[in-house]
């Protein structure tokens, strides 16, 4: 059994990891994984750099692009989590009782955003695309995910650019209503059905180089789990146990579309490159990155 430490951000996008763990796919592959939970993405990247973890279950792609830009070959994605209006992750919600029907109706609103320059940048870019100007038409402020529901409930903000499963919690609690989801695809990638690959499962470059065979076995187990996630609704039972999702919303909470790198189509690769380029343009990623160097197919 090869021991592998996997950095996990406790949210639904870590599902393949827990599926592979619970269904014994790792064990079959001769891998004994240890989950290392991080509540901050930069710490996951750092752990990959220092070799504290060999893999990440769900690492934000812009973070990955960033570190690869600075230190080429730090990590490679083996699967990507795509999101759009169907596979809802990012979305605008409005507080209960709001009359807004489209993004343009957010004129004059106080908006909260998921934290971090990437999220804030995306929210602003989307609103700009919807014809709103920051400062004049709306104000926006980033807030920790944990306070989103409360802030909308209390009416401190009128609307929010937020992520799943927080949005589902807010909606279920009656604190908010979904305004529009999949906004990155629609407004930034330019096609409603395009997948925005905002996160994915990754392996560290060092791990890939030193233990290619183990990496391959890990990827195989991972692929099996990804398939289950795509096809088997029962995997949702794992959400409450590991991934900060209450049992009530687990059956219905939207999940991203998880795709193994080898299954990515040409259009997907283009969309991914475009997604990262937007990050570069916003200054969230330091410089241009060729996304092909960031992914590895198994």
């Amino acid at each position: 059994q090869d021991k592998i430490k996997v950095g996990v951000f406790p949210s639904s996008s870590a599902l393949p990891f827990y599926v592979a763990l619970e269904r014994g796919y790792f064990k079959e592959a001769g891998i004994e994984p240890e989950a290392v939970v991080f509540n901050a993405h930069p710490l996951t990247v750092q752990a990959l750099v220092t070799g504290d973890v060999q893999a990440a279950a769900n690492l934000v792609t812009l973070e990955g692009a960033n570190i690869n830009q600075r230190r080429p070959g730090t990590l490679s994605y083996i699967s990507l989590n795509g999101q759009n209006a169907q596979y809802i992750t990012e979305q605008f919600i409005v507080k209960n009782g709001s009359t807004a029907k489209t993004l343009a109706d957010l004129k004059g609103a106080k908006i909260l955003s998921a934290p971090g320059p990437a999220n804030l940048g995306a929210a602003k870019a989307v609103l700009k695309a919807a014809g709103l100007e920051e400062g004049k038409d709306y104000s926006i402020q980033e807030q920790q995910m944990g306070v989103h529901v409360g802030a909308l409930q209390a009416g401190t903000f009128d609307a929010g650019y937020t992520l799943e499963p927080v949005a589902s919690v807010a909606i279920r609690n009656g604190a908010a209503r979904r305004l529009e989801a999949g906004v990155i695809s629609t407004y930034l990638l330019g096609r409603k059905e395009a997948l925005a690959f905002a996160a994915g499962g990754a392996l560290s470059g060092e791990f890939l180089a030193k233990q290619p065979a183990v990496a391959a076995r890990y990827a195989a187990a991972w692929a099996k789990a990804v398939k289950d996630v795509d096809t088997d609704p029962k995997v949702r039972d794992l959400l409450p146990k590991y991934m900060n999702t209450s049992a009530e919303i687990a059956p219905t909470v939207p999940l991203a579309k998880i795709v193994m790198v080898k299954d990515l189509k040409a259009q997907d690769l283009t969309d991914f490159q475009k997604f990262v380029d937007i990050g570069v343009a916003q200054g969230v990623v330091k410089g241009a990155v060729d996304t092909k160097s960031m992914v590895k197919a198994f």
Binding site: K5, G7, V8, F9, P10, A35, V36, V37, F38, N39, A40, P42, L43, Q46, A47, T50, D52, V53, M145, G146, V147, V149, G150, Q153, A154, P165, V166, V169, A170, N173, A175, N244, T245, S246
Partner: protein
């Protein structure tokens, strides 16, 4: 006449604090100063607390946090007290490294997490190390002050009796700084608890009160969250209480 009764009542004094806190909380809840969804009633919270402690996982999370806190506090104590005494004894040396102490005292623990992750890896060690570091600084700072403000006459008395500088330290300086050391100790144990919880929240963890708070917040289980917070505060008080009792025992002479 009424003395024994008042005496008996005195044991209950700390309970007044609890009552005040819960009272304000109840009022805030009844007046709906905050949305009831955001701030649950004390009743709900205590039900949650009781269930969590009796059968649930709260007891386990609390225990994990306590263990981490005690570990880091023990380390902090064994570094902070001796170092504080040594540094406090020499004004020159203290002034020369004051910068480092004040620097790190003024830097949030969450900011130094990355540094400690590099040094101590991703396991338990980092959480304990950061908390120990923070608490040690506070203890050191207080002890050093206690030493610097020690009554000079008593140090001289020991020296004149033939005590070596080391013996003066052990026999007099330590005692003279004891009241201040207890301030440091109590600041330190609270800080250790705070940092452990913050570490559990932000470095990520699979147990502990910080983990519980973050999770409850994510799924918007406010009673669970407040039960965890209340447990944290309660632990802080109990840990402090230990040292309050010790202090009353040992520092009978302060101010005399």
């Amino acid at each position: 006449m009424t003395k024994p009764f008042t005496e008996r009542l005195r044991v209950l004094t700390p309970a007044i604090g609890v009552l005040v806190l819960v009272g304000i909380w109840s009022i805030a809840h009844t007046l709906k100063i905050a949305d009831p969804v955001l701030l649950p009633s004390p009743g709900e919270t205590f039900r949650e607390l009781w269930q969590g402690l009796a059968g649930g996982t709260l007891a386990h999370d609390a225990w994990t946090t306590v263990l981490r806190t005690l570990y880091s506090f023990a380390i902090a104590l064994s570094i902070g007290v001796p170092l504080g005494i040594v540094l406090g004894a020499s004004d020159r040396i203290y002034r020369s490294i004051e910068f480092v102490i004040d620097f790190f005292r003024s830097t949030p623990a969450s900011v130094v997490f990355p540094l400690f992750l590099v040094l101590f890896g991703t396991g338990e060690k980092t959480k304990i190390a950061v908390a120990a570091f923070g608490a040690a600084l506070v203890i050191l700072f207080n002890v050093a002050y206690g030493v610097m403000n020690a009554r000079k006459q008593r140090l001289l008395a020991a020296r004149v009796m033939g005590a070596s500088p080391l013996q003066v330290m052990v026999d007099v300086t330590v005692w003279e700084s004891l009241p201040q050391t207890f301030v440091g100790i109590r600041s330190g144990i609270s800080l250790a608890l705070v940092i452990v919880i913050v570490a559990e929240m932000f470095i990520g963890s699979t147990d502990g009160l910080g983990h519980r708070v973050v999770n409850a917040q994510m799924v918007f289980e406010m009673p669970t969250m407040y039960a965890a917070i209340f447990t944290a505060g309660l632990l802080g008080y109990v840990l402090n209480l230990l040292f309050i009792v010790m202090e009353r025992r040992f520092v009978h002479w302060s101010g005399r």
